[in-house]
């Protein structure tokens, strides 16, 4: 199989490159646009955090990368998703169909993925060990014994107690945290260069969440893969991400280094969200800052800047009519707001 490589080879320091990705879904009510022109890059070995509320399109975007979109999905005409797993070979993922051989060779091999619900994301009728070794055998053409040994190592690496015993355990015999560890072991089965984590700690208790985040951080340091970490929790992003992208209604409204996002947000949505979260040890105020209204449903996305009807700084003429461009700053920060950089400083 000769992999199809693109004429435009991605530079060595870009692992994944999304340009203008657009995903809509054909439903009986009409077409819903879930992702509307998302672009971002992931560099080898970095952790990109993607934050957003429900319906912001963060999960759909990564499913477009994995080519695991639902069957009623329509992708935008222009967008591209390019992946450069080893630094010298670029795959045009956006051209691959769901069941394409090339993407199958990448999935579980160069790209690993972990999911929100550790309860249901593992097959209930197969043992942990057999699920992991099946992936190993699929991509590494190794024998059963080798794959099982590899599975055992992986379970040890994710710090599951008694890895030898765990190989033959079934998911329902493990606790939520242990299941998520097994899920991570499965995603790392073939040393991927990119790990996609879709809200992996949302269903877990706060103490377990902390353990899983610690584990992911140490594994990342050890194995050097890049991580796309999706969450709605700003605390989790602050803990794990190097860079952050904030999403709202299918668009990235702001990206930047984690410190810049948290200490010098440029987009009013980011600013307002950060201020509305009560946090530990903060000077107590009686009232929390809020964003007015609620997240619009995907069938009625406002015109112009989608945030204008909830924004305190919106200009009636400009923001309701014109979709703002992405404004870049010297520090690499970008914000999709007409007034980015001109708004009053409002951070923590």
């Amino acid at each position: 199989m000769t992999p199809k490589t693109n004429t435009a080879q991605l530079p060595k320091d870009v692992l994944l490159d999304l340009q203008d990705v657009k995903v809509s879904f054909e439903t009986r009510e009409g077409t819903v646009t879930a992702v509307n022109g998302v672009s971002y890059k992931v560099r080898p070995g970095e952790v990109l955090g993607i934050v957003g509320e429900s319906g912001s399109g963060k999960s759909v975007t990564v499913r477009a990368i994995m080519r695991l979109l639902a069957k009623n999905a329509i992708e935008g005409p222009k967008g591209s998703i390019r992946f450069n797993p080893n630094g010298d070979q670029t795959y045009d993922l956006h051209e691959l169909s769901r069941d394409n051989r090339q993407i199958r060779a990448l999935r579980g091999n160069r790209i690993g993925m972990i999911f929100q619900e550790p309860m249901t994301a593992l097959s209930p009728v197969h043992s942990i060990g057999s699920q992991i070794s099946r992936t190993v055998m699929l991509h590494r053409k190794s024998t059963k014994a080798e794959a099982r040994a590899r599975a055992r190592d992986l379970l040890e690496r994710v710090q599951l107690p008694n890895p030898d015993l765990m190989l033959d355990r079934f998911p329902h015999q493990l606790s939520g945290g242990m299941r998520q560890r097994a899920m991570i072991a499965l995603a790392l089965a073939c040393d991927p260069s990119l790990l996609i984590a879709d809200e992996p700690t949302t269903a877990l208790d706060v103490t377990t969440e902390a353990q899983i985040l610690e584990l992911l951080k140490s594994l990342q340091a050890e194995l050097g893969m890049a991580i796309i970490f999706i969450t709605h929790n700003f605390g989790v992003v602050a803990d794990i991400a190097d860079r952050v992208a904030v999403m709202y209604l299918g668009q990235i409204v702001e990206t930047g280094d984690v410190d810049d996002i948290f200490y010098a947000p440029k987009h009013p949505y980011t600013q307002a969200l950060l201020q509305s979260i009560p946090r530990l040890g903060q000077k107590k105020v009686r009232r929390l800052k809020t964003i007015r209204g609620s997240v619009p449903d995907p069938y009625h996305i406002p015109s112009g800047c989608p945030f204008h009807n909830r924004c305190d700084h919106a200009d009636a003429a400009l923001c309701t009519q014109e979709r703002p461009p992405l404004r870049g700053f010297d520090n690499g920060q970008e914000a999709r707001c007409h007034f980015a950089g001109q708004l009053p400083e409002a951070s923590l």
Binding site: M66, L68, R98, D99, R104, A105, L106, R107, G108, N109, I111, G112, M113, F115, Q116, E117, T120, A121, L122, S123, P124, V125, H126, S127, R134, T135, L138, H139, F170, H172, Q173, M183, L186, A187, A189
Partner: protein
């Protein structure tokens, strides 16, 4: 696992006792008893029998004893002597009448079950995977028809069609000239040319329902996160579907396999009557109509025992295939 099997097996025992008791009650239900019937038979034959003689027979056979005692005697004879009693109508021991018919019934049922599964599983999986496709609709229509057409009607129509268009006389399991003959190639071919109708009839009814079940199970399972996980490992669509959701969707199936066997036994009662098959069904029907109660009760007992054992087997199979049950 072993303790599970043991527990399930022990649990089957009280069920068997109750089932056998019910079978016995059915024997007892009709007014009159063996002695009455026997006396009536004798009188019809022109013999003279007094009330006192009839009563003597009754006492001799223990028919005046309490029901429980009679039940004990009946079940005791079956358990310890294999004696199911006497068929009044055939004037022969029940056990002589039952066994060879049971063998044929078993053959027919097993073949139909295998056939049912061979049809139902792939179609159910396909229908779920290609929901709302043309073939899915077609199978749905087939499923509804299969559910709506009574077995005996299907049997009648098939028989009629094959008679009119194929000019085959398809009643029975073989042509009359082969009956009682040793198995030869010709007889085998002849049986094959007969057996397909009952199998098609029995399998269509069963498959129609199972396709719906399999499709619904598969649709449930295909939406679950572990399927996405499997895709994310790089497995192809076929590998994902057959290794993961099908395994899980089959579990409710397995839980009915043991139960399907006796269901086919009883389902075949009606079909067998229509198609004039030498299986247990027609004999049971005849026994019931003649109120030949020892024969009928024994049949019901045996079928019930099959059902209980079938349920037991499917529970064990299910535990074997689904770790969630095994380790519960």
């Amino acid at each position: 696992m072993l303790s599970f099997i043991l527990r399930r097996t022990l649990w089957a025992i009280p069920t068997l006792i109750v089932v056998s008791f019910i079978s016995f009650l059915i024997i007892q239900l009709p007014p009159g008893d063996y002695a009455t019937a026997y006396a009536a038979e004798l009188r019809n034959g022109g013999d003279y029998i007094t009330e006192a003689q009839e009563e003597a027979i009754r006492t001799q056979l223990g028919l005046n004893d309490p029901v429980l005692l009679q039940y004990g005697r009946w079940i005791g004879n079956i358990l310890f002597h294999g004696d199911f009693g006497q068929s009044f109508h055939w004037n022969a021991p029940v056990s002589d009448l039952i066994w060879d018919r049971l063998a044929l019934t078993l053959l027919l049922s097993t073949l139909s079950l295998v056939f049912t599964w061979i049809i139902a599983i792939p179609i159910g999986v396909y229908s779920a995977q290609r929901q709302y496709s043309f073939l899915d609709y077609l199978f749905t229509v087939f499923g509804f028809l299969g559910k709506g057409i009574p077995d005996f009607l299907l049997a009648l129509v098939l028989m009629w069609i094959s008679f009119i268009w194929l000019n085959l006389d398809v009643g029975g399991l073989m042509s009359p000239q082969f009956e009682g003959q040793p198995l030869t190639w010709a007889k085998f071919v002849n049986i094959l040319s007969h057996i397909w109708i009952p199998i098609v009839v029995l399998a269509t009814g069963g498959a129609a329902g199972l396709i719906r079940v399999m499709r619904a199970n598969m649709l449930d399972e295909l939406g679950k996160p572990y399927v996405e996980t499997a895709y994310a490992q790089g497995l192809s669509e076929r590998q994902v579907v057959w290794r993961y959701p099908v395994r899980v969707a089959l579990n409710p199936f397995i839980s009915t396999v043991g139960w399907a066997l006796p269901a086919l036994f009883s389902g075949d009662v009606i079909t067998a009557v229509v198609l004039n098959l030498p299986t247990t069904g027609p004999l049971l029907l005849q026994a019931l109509k003649m109120q030949d109660m020892y024969l009928a009760g024994s049949f019901i007992l045996i079928l019930s025992v099959f059902t209980v054992i079938g349920t037991l087997i499917s529970d064990i199979l299910l535990a074997w295939s689904d770790p969630r049950i095994r380790y519960a």
